[in-house]
Subunit: 243 residues, 2 copies
DNA sequence: TAGTGGTCTAGACCACGGT
DNA sequence: CCGTGGTCTAGACCACTAA
């Protein structure tokens, strides 16, 4: 059974997206909602908190709770803010992703890798290079470092599919935060060879550290994208409720 | 006076970053914290919610509340996820930002601008081109469209400083969500002229729509960055508490 | 000044983890 | 099984907005 406040949030969200409230742009007051759902005001507030965090409503003390004017847009984009984790998931429906393994090794980490993954020089890491295709066209080059202790049992068959679904479904780990550095760069001979691009083509590089839910970093990687096959989309919901 | 739960969150955060709790990696139970701060458990939970949203703790039902292992790193990065809004703010302390106005006009919007800013063809927009310098070195070219109705009263003196501080401090508006598309591109003759880069230099382009707290879009812009002066940093805290 | 959302309380029961 | 966090209640007072 799901929590009551989540159920209420879902129902309210549905109504908002349906347009059931849009005539006035304001939601009923919390006491009225509490009576309608035969619950307490605190529970209604927890439900509204979810919608606030999702960016589809906002409240003004002393005034009321209102629907944001671009709900439909945000509702669409909302799904995208998490999509970024894992290429296989993010391109679902847009085409077929395939992978070619260029290199797959295990070795000791260098200093940069130790620093980013918070490990010592004695903890072995996987070193993975993959070329990934979208509809058989080269899309990006991936260079991934993962600590063996954290993500054990990677095999070539895992690499041909999706590392992320292996982590979530097989290892039952929950993926948490990530920090990414995004930059443009000139192409090098590796890019030219594998991504089939010319010397003058720029490259979009993403360098990232990804953490598990517990805060343990499990991936340090660089991906180099062909500049002409897809942007990176970043959504910033900016709900500063906590400050 | 600030809310009690925010005060408690701040105190707990300070202790966590101090290392006061790190010996065990677990926080005291909610009842004990409630007694210590002479408050109710609900209030403690609201405080913990903040720290969860900030990504520095996580809880397991039936077990306890734990500190994430890379708190210091995340605490540092945390400030950066919002930094992205407004260049003047984001580079504070890293150098001096100056601006040169290349173009400043008012006109009717084209179709793309109408679609992104959710306005009609009859609502005038500002068209602003600025070249921005970091420590007198050209950093990026900015091409900004803002609806006049939404952000009135822009003048050249505003443009020489910061549009965002004008919006927040003069107009008293609150900036909310943003969606960004990030890509690499070849430099064009504009880039080469203003950013003083060569034909073979790549460009990092960011195309974004920025919304007010109320959900009204107020900026559609493209910025073209020199590839060798600073990455874009994106932090994804991924706290799926609401799902 | 009336009515709204924001905060807070002191209890209660449930779901889950570890024993 | 016990102890933890997760949810929920039925009130209360305060802060703010708008008339």
């Amino acid at each position: 059974m799901t929590a009551k406040y989540k159920e209420i949030a879902l129902q309210l969200k549905t109504r908002i997206l349906n347009g059931s409230y849009s005539s006035t742009n304001a939601l009923p007051e919390q006491m009225i909602l509490a009576k309608e759902f035969s619950t307490s005001r605190m529970t209604i507030q927890k439900a509204l908190d979810i919608l606030r965090k999702e960016g589809i409503i906002f409240s003004r003390q002393g005034s009321g709770t209102y629907i944001k004017q671009n709900v439909n847009l945000l509702a669409k984009l909302d799904t995208m803010s998490d999509e970024y984790v894992g290429l296989t998931k993010s391109t679902a429906g847009k085409g077929v992703i395939t992978s070619e393994i260029i290199d797959f090794d295990i070795r000791f980490p260098n200093e940069l890798e130790q620093k980013n993954l918070l490990i010592t020089a004695h903890e072995p890491v996987y070193e993975i290079r993959r070329l990934r295709f979208l509809n058989k066209q080269p899309l990006l080059l991936e260079y991934t470092i993962m600590p063996n202790s954290c993500i054990p049992g990677i095999t070539e068959s895992v690499l041909y599919h999706s590392i992320y679904s292996y982590i979530e479904e097989e290892l039952k780990l929950v993926i948490g935060a990530a920090t990414r550095h995004i930059r443009a760069d000139k192409s090098n001979h590796y890019d030219q060879k594998y991504l089939d691009c010319s010397v003058s083509d720029p490259i979009l590089e993403v360098e990232q550290v990804v953490y598990l839910d517990s805060g343990i970093p499990f991936e340090y990687s660089k991906t180099r994208h062909r500049f002409d096959r897809g942007d990176i989309i970043v959504v910033n919901l900016n709900s500063k409720k906590s400050e």
